[in-house]
């Protein structure tokens, strides 16, 4: 039966040591540990949340970057196209102006040639008139007066000749 009889001395020491242990651990032991674990849990949760938002932001930035890149590429294509068009335009304009210029020059040259031709024809006619008068003098052995009326007549004759020929 002595096993079932609590000893007073033992009760006293047990109560004392348990109370001391309880006070010490309840003040400096368990609450500190549970609080720290709770805080750490919150810290981890917060960190995870932050990492998640950071990831989202990163994904957003990536998407933004890709969009910007695509836009830039589009712009590039557009600019290139524009440049090509401008080049074409410039080239065609240059061609047109060159043609006009060339035509103008050609016309001028043609006019000049015409003038020179006419000059040459006039010269030839004068020579022919002189020659024909000389020939006629030789034929009739007399000097024909080279007056104005005679020269005009020869001219007329020449005109008739050329007109009938052409």
């Amino acid at each position: 039966m002595s096993l079932l009889q609590p000893e007073f001395g033992l009760l006293f020491w047990m109560l004392l040591s348990f109370a001391v242990v309880f006070i010490i651990l309840a003040k400096f032991g368990f609450p500190v540990i549970t609080k720290m674990v709770e805080e750490r849990k919150q810290f981890i949760d917060k960190s995870l949340e932050a990492a998640k938002t950071a990831n989202e932001q990163l994904a957003g930035i990536k998407a933004d970057g890709e969009a910007m890149l695509a836009e830039a590429r589009e712009e590039q294509v557009r600019i290139l196209n524009e440049a090509a068009a401008i080049r074409e335009k410039i080239l065609s304009e240059a061609k047109v102006s060159a043609q006009i210029e060339a035509k103008k020059q050609l016309d001028e040259v043609r006019l000049q040639i015409q003038a020179e031709k006419e000059e040459a024809i006039r010269d030839v006619r004068r020579q022919i008139a002189v020659l024909s008068v000389d020939i006629a003098e030789k034929v009739i052995r007399t000097n024909l007066t080279k007056d104005k009326a005679q020269m005009e007549m020869i001219d007329r004759l020449l005109d008739e000749l050329t007109v009938s020929k052409s």
């Binding site: 002595s2 096993l3 079932l4 009889q5 609590p6 000893e7 007073f8 001395g9 033992l10 009760l11 006293f12 020491w13 047990m14 109560l15 040591s17 348990f18 001391v20 242990v21 309880f22 010490i24 651990l25 309840a26 400096f28 032991g29 368990f30 609450p31 500190v32 540990i33 549970t34 720290m36 674990v37 805080e39 750490r40 810290f43």
Partner: protein, 357 residues
């Protein structure tokens, strides 16, 4: 291959060690020594004593003397070491002696004026009290070490021992206390965690067979009585109005009230009583069974070598089995005590919810 050789060697050594007690026992056989008093060995261990007996080597007892603190009949305090009893030839010191037989067997007594044995007020630091104090100090050191680490390294995951302890504490906190009490568990969790670790640590120390351990602390009724009284206070001191109403004016027909009210009042006391007896009986039984199994070796020492050898092997195997089982029991009993305390506290925190019907 090398591993196998090691294994064989190890098991051979183990077997040899098992048979080791057989050799001196069989050598003593012819001397025909007295019977082994198993009852006194077992009860001597699970009971309390004024000194910490470590071993007996031949005729000399090796034990650690513990302080005796008693208040005699004359109202004066006496403090001396229990070894003084052995030093004096009559076993008496300052009028006190350890009773042999009778009502106060094994306790310190003195003679009163009429010559009858009476017990003085005995606050001696006995073996169990010494073990409680030692284990309490160790427990405080361990838990405070963990809490200091957590304080020094905020927002860091602990490793090793601190990590294990933290996991353990949080497991009890979240899965037992929080789950059983529910809302408002924070107020009770330091107490319940202290109870759990106090019981668990003392149980574990009781399983270590050498000096600082081995004392039957939680298998002593005084210890479990104190713990149960603490739980009784924790349950009833902060109970809600609803809880008291259910006890003194339960929701039953009027004719049943005279029966129900005493039952409910007895129920207040049976809850901690069950806690007390369960812990006490489990740990005491565990210690007794292990000790009896060890004693089996010495009982069979006189029964011939074959029986003794086989019983030694058997008792060692059973001893190992019981030790492992007790390791489990050490945890389960601490767990059950904490869980039931939490449940009782949770029941005492009932809110008024009958309106919903």
């Amino acid at each position: 291959m090398k591993n196998l050789v090691y294994k064989i060697r190890r098991y051979t050594w183990l077997l040899l060690l098992m048979f080791l007690p057989v050799l001196p026992a069989s050598a003593n056989e012819s001397e025909g020594k007295g019977e082994v008093d198993v009852k006194s060995i077992v009860f001597g261990h699970i009971g309390d004593s004024y000194e910490w007996h470590i071993t007996t080597w031949g005729e000399t007892h090796i034990s650690i003397p513990l302080p005796v603190i008693v208040m005699g009949q004359d109202g004066t305090w006496h403090m001396f070491f229990s070894s003084e009893f052995h030093h004096s030839p009559t076993g008496e010191y300052e009028g006190f002696y350890v009773a042999k037989g009778g009502q106060f067997d094994g306790k310190i007594v003195e003679k009163n004026a009429a010559g009858a044995e009476v017990r003085p007020l005995d606050l001696s630091i006995t073996k169990t009290a010494f073990a409680i104090i030692l284990n309490s100090i160790l427990l405080c050191v361990i838990i405070l070490g963990v809490s200091r680490w957590s304080k020094r390294n905020p927002n860091q995951a602990p490793k090793g021992f601190v990590g294990t302890m933290e996991m353990f504490i949080m497991d009890i906190n979240d899965n037992v206390i929080k789950a059983c009490i529910g809302k408002g568990y924070e107020r009770y969790s330091p107490y319940l965690l202290t109870v759990f670790f106090f019981i668990f640590f003392n149980n574990l120390m009781g399983l270590i067979p050498i000096f600082p351990g081995g004392a039957n602390v939680t298998g002593n009724i005084a210890i479990t009585l104190t713990l149960a009284c603490c739980t009784l206070l924790a349950v009833n001191l902060f109970a809600t109005k609803e809880y008291w109403k259910e006890i003194f004016w339960p929701d039953v027909p009027l004719a049943l009230k005279p029966i129900m009210i005493p039952i409910e009042i007895v129920g207040i006391l049976t809850k901690p009583f069950a806690l007390m007896i369960r812990l006490f009986a489990n740990i005491m039984a565990g210690h007794s069974v292990i000790l009896s199994l060890v004693c089996l070796v010495f009982i069979t020492a006189t029964m011939g070598q074959v029986l003794n050898g086989s019983m030694t092997v058997l008792s060692v195997f059973f001893g190992i089995f019981m030790n492992i089982l007790e390791l489990l029991v050490a945890y389960i009993q601490a767990y059950v005590f904490t869980m039931l305390s939490s449940v009782f506290i949770g029941l005492s925190l009932v809110e008024h919810h009958h309106e919903a019907k």
